[in-house]
């Protein structure tokens, strides 16, 4: 067997919209996801990859506008090696498919090859891609196994390109479209195939450092750009080298966007200082989508300061939302905070009443906390 070097990527889901991205952030997000394809091309060039396989879900759906399709094709065309596209569950073959649209068919560059038939596709002498395209959104059986049938162990290097969740990663045990490990292992053991490039999982698997991440034969590359908070890192692609022995797999970060959860225990001004420093360290802010998850107890003034900090940062990051479900932040006025109020006056009594409601944790606790902060502002506290 001679050496084969290629890039394995998947789940580009071009045309994806994130509804929490307002205004220009969404446009940037969309544009960057196309731009990353060009960087994959650069990586292919720099690593000497012979071709690129995209293991399904190239597009988010079939309803892409002409502009999005053409820009995507333009980016793919910029790659100097063949790019093999596999239809996945988001963009299956079949009625209404984007793959048959005049935009795609008419403007597809020569290096872009659509794997629209099940089975082996010759890449060059002695090298084949074994494609397992999705023909429907809801297949009723293993979407990869049929592609393995009838392959001879004739010394041809074969790379399976498939889409779907392996049983061990599939959360839905009853799912019909689960990819079964058995036929893959059997084919690998029989020497009829040599690497399985899978898509559908947006996170690289096995992750770097996990068993098999470097020499295993079955891999998910993960998405090239982050698509949600479950993905802790920026998008990656896999550089795969097949030679006589085991495959060599190296991951490369190509994505620029990050979904990031800021989790912190806040119990005083020092914690807010630390949080401020953490946020300051995150770069580039315009491509980071933040979600906060706080716990702890703050004075009214600290709580107001936190609000001010988050309000300011919200303008800088691509998006910043609090994760209400995981936020457990109590606001308790300290003795000095309402010293401006006359002792024994009803304003102070009101403040105590609101503090008690906020601490009791009932349905009005959040409102009481906000009311306290408002009172604090009106009685000479920090401007909000």
């Amino acid at each position: 067997m001679g050496t084969v070097r290629f890039l394995h990527t998947s789940d580009w889901q071009l045309g994806m919209t994130r509804h929490y991205l307002a205004g220009e952030a969404q446009a940037r997000f969309t544009g960057d996801r196309v731009e990353t394809i060009r960087r994959i091309g650069e990586l292919a060039a720099s690593t000497g990859a012979e071709f690129v396989v995209v293991a399904g879900d190239v597009f988010e759906h079939h309803n892409l506008g002409r502009q999005d399709v053409l820009r995507a094709l333009e980016a793919m065309g910029s790659i100097q090696v063949p790019v093999y596209l596999l239809p996945g569950n988001h963009d299956p073959l079949g009625p209404g498919t984007l793959w048959e649209s005049p935009d795609f068919v008419g403007r597809r560059q020569h290096n872009v090859i659509l794997l629209d038939d099940v089975g082996p596709w010759p890449v060059r002498e002695g090298v084949e891609i074994v494609a397992a395209p999705w023909r429907t959104k809801h297949p009723d059986s293993d979407p990869v196994a049929p592609a393995l049938q009838g392959l001879p162990a004739d010394g041809t290097v074969r790379i399976v390109v498939g889409h779907g969740m392996l049983a061990e990663l599939q959360p839905d045990r009853a799912a019909l479209e689960t990819v079964h490990r058995g036929p893959l292992d059997a084919a690998l053991a029989a020497g009829t195939v040599h690497y399985v490039a899978l898509g559908d999982r947006h996170i690289q698997w096995p992750a770097d450092g996990e068993p098999g991440h470097d020499h295993g034969a079955i891999h998910y590359s993960g998405a090239h750009e982050t698509t949600g908070f479950r993905e802790p890192d920026r998008g990656r692609v896999l550089e795969v080298v097949l030679a006589d022995d085991l495959p060599t797999v190296t991951s490369h970060e190509v994505g620029r966007w990050l979904h990031h959860i800021v989790q912190a225990d806040l119990d005083g001004a020092a914690d807010i200082d630390a949080l401020e420093a953490r946020l300051a360290a995150l770069e580039p802010k315009e491509r980071i989508i933040l979600k906060t998850r706080f716990a702890g107890t703050l004075s009214v003034s600290d709580a107001s300061r936190l609000d001010a900090l988050l309000d300011a940062q919200r303008e800088v990051f691509a998006a910043l939302d609090s994760w209400e479900r995981h936020t457990d932040l109590a606001v308790v006025p300290d003795e000095a905070e309402f010293s401006a109020l006359a002792a024994g006056g009803y304003v102070l009594e009101s403040a105590h009443e609101l503090a008690a409601t906020a601490q009791a944790g009932g349905p009005d606790a959040d409102t009481a906390r906000d009311a306290l902060k408002l009172l604090y502002r009106f009685t000479g506290g920090e401007a909000r």
């Binding site: 991205l21 009625p95 009106f378």
Partner: protein
């Protein structure tokens, strides 16, 4: 301020006046109108407020017009911890002095402007608001005055509320700012979001609707794709089906060729069967015909024999039948003669009975006619009497005339003078109207004419009647003449005869009616002429009967005898008739029998002739047929034909078996089915192909990318709108909660502050009105806004004048009771409670007593008894 003493000179109606007031308790200042009660308060006010140099309207008007003395007002009071004697003199030698009687400046005195300034300073430190508020002046407006301006009262209430201050400008300003914040989100009542807040809510709702709308549009694409997928799937399935059908069709076509050939064989065999069957039928017909001919000859021979025997029998039976017929005819003739005889006898008996009935009827009719004649004569006589009758009207006229004549006569006697002559002693002869009379007793006569009484030889006395007497006599004559004329008209002699004739006429009328009734009864049905015609007819018929009667029997003596004979003869006639009918029937029967036998014999003879002819014909026909084809040859031909037919049938059965072996029916049916199914499937395939084309086209023109873009934009918009709404909701809810919390606390503080004031008024109110439910509403400015009495709550303005005045007094008394006695002021009521009834006056005195235990109460009044119920009050008479 506590007032101890007041001295006034030359102020309005007051010359000189002194008033001492104890530290607590009620002083009632009582005096007639215009004695200067109100002026005392005005004088005190002047002392406090006007400089001794003042020439104000108050001073000018206070000066008595008839004197030129100075106005002097001096008061001793305690204020701001100093007891002073303050004196002012106006107009003449104006002067002011202020002496400190006790307190920090005890023993000091100041005069002039310094004194005025010192006193003013004292007053400025005191509660002038309270001083003014605690007075209720005569004819002043009864208003709900707030006591919030009274520092003394406020201090007292704050002390009672635990030191809480009503005045907290900083807190109030905070509340205002919080309210302003809440105003940014809520309507004034806080019940609904304001326009800005609502706009965000609406925007979020609209964004949600937009998402739903665009989602639906997008789903339409997915639905169309799904439909197309199903159509493609179905098309693939139909293609498979068509291929299967075509394959099966080929196999079935081969089988059908073999079946067609077998069918041809079968057809040939069936034709052979038909042919042999037809030949067999022809031979069998001839064979049958021959048997028929033989049977017919035998039949004709048998008939000839039978008829010959029957004719012999009929001829034997004919002679006795003829004899029976002759005998029946003779019996019938005899019965006919008997019947004719009986009928003649019956006719005679019937005629006799009719004749006798006619005679009876004739006699009755004659009696009836005689009776009618008699009645006619009687009615005629009665009618003559009736014609002379006096009618009831005529009789009444006569009676009236007789009564009138009688009345006229009486009137003459009654209306005229009377002449009385009474003998004295034996009298002697008197000549009355020329007639000598020997009177033995009194004699009297009405003077209706000139009357003379003559004592013969001595005197003649002539008495003339009065003039009216003649008139009355004339009337009497006329009346009598009328009676006479009426009687003459009727031809009667006197009224009695007239009455008698009236009665006779009535009885004649009744008799005529009776006679006419009798006549009508006789002529109930017939008229008289008919009866007379009948008599005539019967008379003629009975007369001629003797000459026309037949028969030899004598005429019966009576109708009964005739009836009996007729009945007897009728019985004989019926018998003869029965005998005649029976004989007639018997004769007919025997005659018919004879005729029938004769006819039968003739028929039999005819039939025999015919049968003999038939027999001859049939024998000839049989012989002719046998000459053509002998009986044996015919039998042989029949056997051969039957054999040929059986052979053909066996051949056909064999062909059917061959066909059955090929299962032609199933194969044909299956071929038909598959052919039809193929056509149907191809039609369905074509329809589905069209649907696929249509769905493809639909998908192409759906603008799916635009739908997706719209949905994504709507979804992003929704997230943004919800985020904005959530942020505003948080701010709005926070502002609302803060505002509610602050205001609730503020209300609680104010309620605690106002409570003692309200409670004290209610305490006095309960004492005054005896209503445990008495209550008032007091606002933050310490103004009483509502009163609740006997379960009814009224606003202050709604109260009657009396109730307002009472409430106003109670408020003053409550205030007096609340404030520090040293800092307090006297409660002064000038001619108050004029609107209250006696009972209310008594109860309000209770409140006055209660308040006066700690306060000074000064009452000015012109009514000596208004405050009579106040125990312990000090009375000052002016």
């Amino acid at each position: 301020m506590r007032l101890h003493r007041l001295h006034i000179e030359n102020f309005k109606a007051i010359d000189t006046r002194d008033l001492s007031v104890p530290d607590t308790g009620v002083v009632v200042v009582q005096g007639r109108n215009e004695v200067g009660k109100t002026s005392m308060i005005e004088a005190f006010d002047a002392l406090i407020s006007l400089k001794d140099s003042s020439r104000t309207k108050t001073i000018r008007e206070a000066k008595p017009v008839d004197r030129d003395d100075p106005i002097v007002v001096e008061a001793e009071f305690t204020v701001a911890g100093e007891r002073v004697v303050y004196r002012k003199q106006w107009l003449k030698q104006p002067a002011t002095t202020l002496r400190f009687v006790s307190g920090p400046r005890q023993g000091r005195a100041v005069t002039g402007g310094e004194a005025h300034d010192a006193a003013t300073a004292l007053w400025e430190n005191s509660d002038t608001t309270l001083w003014k508020a605690m007075r209720i002046m005569q004819a002043s407006q009864l208003e709900a005055v707030g006591f919030g301006g009274s520092t003394v009262l406020r201090r007292a209430l704050e002390a009672q509320a635990g030191g809480t201050s009503m005045e907290d400008p900083e807190a109030d300003s905070l509340v205002e700012r919080v309210q302003a914040e809440a105003d940014r989100y809520w309507t004034a009542t806080r019940s609904k979001p304001n326009a800005d807040y609502r706009a965000l809510q609406t925007a979020a709702e609209e964004a949600g609707a937009e998402v739903a709308g665009t989602r639906a549009a997008l789903d339409e694409v997915a639905t169309t794709e799904s439909e197309l997928a199903i159509v493609l799937d179905d098309l693939a399935h139909l293609d498979d089906l068509v291929a299967d059908h075509l394959l099966e069709c080929d196999g079935l076509a081969e089988q059908l060729v073999a079946i067609t050939s077998a069918h041809a064989e079968l057809e040939k065999a069936e034709q052979a069967v038909e042919r042999t069957t037809r030949h067999h039928e022809a031979v069998a017909a001839r064979h049958e015909q021959r048997a028929d001919l033989r049977d017919q000859v035998a039949e004709a021979e048998s008939q000839v024999d039978r008829l010959t025997a029957a004719i012999a029998r009929a001829e034997e039976e004919l002679a006795p039948a003829r004899e029976r017929a002759r005998e029946a005819e003779a019996a019938h003739d005899a019965a006919q003669q008997a019947w004719d005889l009986a009928r003649d006898e019956d006719q005679v008996a019937t005629d006799d009975r009719t004749h006798l009935l006619d005679l009876g009827r004739l006699a009755d009719l004659r009696i009836t006619l005689d009776r009618l004649d008699e009645l006619r004569k009687r009615i005629s006589g009665l009618r003559e009497a009736a014609d002379r009758a006096v009618t009831t009207q005529q009789l009444a006229e006569i009676e009236r005339a007789v009564d009138a004549a009688r009345s006229a006569e009486v009137a003459i006697g009654v209306g005229s003078a009377h002449l009385s002559v009474t003998p004295l002693g034996d009298g002697g002869t008197l000549v009355l109207d020329g007639e000598p009379t020997d009177l033995t007793g009194d004699w009297q006569t009405p003077v209706v004419r000139e009357t003379t009484v003559e004592i013969p030889g001595q005197w003649r006395i002539t008495v003339a009647p009065e003039s009216a007497t003649e008139t009355r006599a004339e009337a009497a004559r006329s009346a009598r003449q009328l009676v006479a004329d009426l009687l003459a008209d009727l031809g009667v002699a006197d009224p009695e005869e007239a009455r008698s004739r009236h009665l006779d006429a009535e009885s004649a009328s009744r008799a005529i009616a009776d006679a006419e009734a009798d006549r009508d009864a006789i002529l109930r049905k017939d008229d008289e002429a008919t009866l007379r015609d009948e008599v005539e007819h019967l008379d003629a018929r009975t007369r001629s009967y003797g000459s026309t009667r037949t028969g030899t029997t004598p005429l019966p003596g009576s109708l009964a005898e005739a009836e009996a004979r007729a009945t007897s003869i009728a019985a004989g006639l019926a018998e003869a008739r029965s005998a005649l009918v029976a004989a007639h029937t018997a004769a007919s029967t025997t005659r018919e029998d004879l005729a029938a036998r004769s006819t039968r014999l003739q028929q039999l003879s005819g039939e025999l002739t015919n049968q003999r002819s038939t027999l001859t014909d049939r024998r000839a026909a049989l012989d002719a047929a046998r000459a053509k084809e002998g009986d044996d040859a015919l039998d042989l031909a029949l056997a051969e034909a039957r054999h040929a037919m059986a052979a053909a049938e066996a051949g056909a059965a064999a062909a059917v078996d061959v066909l059955r072996g090929l299962d032609a029916e199933t194969v044909t049916a299956r071929h038909e089915y598959v052919t039809t199914a193929l056509e149907t499937t191809q039609r369905r395939r074509q329809a589905l192909g069209e649907k696929r084309t249509e769905l493809d086209a639909r998908l192409r023109v759906m603008g799916r990318d635009q739908r997706q873009a719209d949905y994504d934009r709507a979804q992003t918009g929704l997230v943004a709108a919800e985020r904005a709404l959530e942020a505003m909701t948080r701010r709005a809810e926070a502002a609302l909660l803060l505002e509610r919390t602050l205001m609730a606390r503020q209300r609680a503080v104010r309620a605690a502050y106002v409570a003692p004031f309200r409670e004290r008024i209610e305490e006095l109110g309960r004492a005054t009105y005896g209503d445990p439910g008495f209550g008032v509403t007091v606002d933050d400015a310490l103004t009483v806004t509502e009163r609740r009495l006997k379960g009814t709550t009224l606003a202050f303005e709604q109260l009657s004048t009396g109730a307002k005045e009472q409430l106003v007094i109670l408020i003053r008394l409550a205030t007096a009771m609340l404030v520090d006695p040293v800092e307090g002021v006297p409660v002064m009521l000038d001619d108050a409670l004029g609107y209250s009834d006696r009972h209310r006056l008594q109860t309000i005195c209770r409140a006055l007593s209660l308040a006066s235990q700690t306060s000074q109460v000064i009452l000015f009044t012109c009514h000596t008894d208004r405050y009579a119920g106040l125990a312990g009050a000090e009375l000052v008479e002016l």
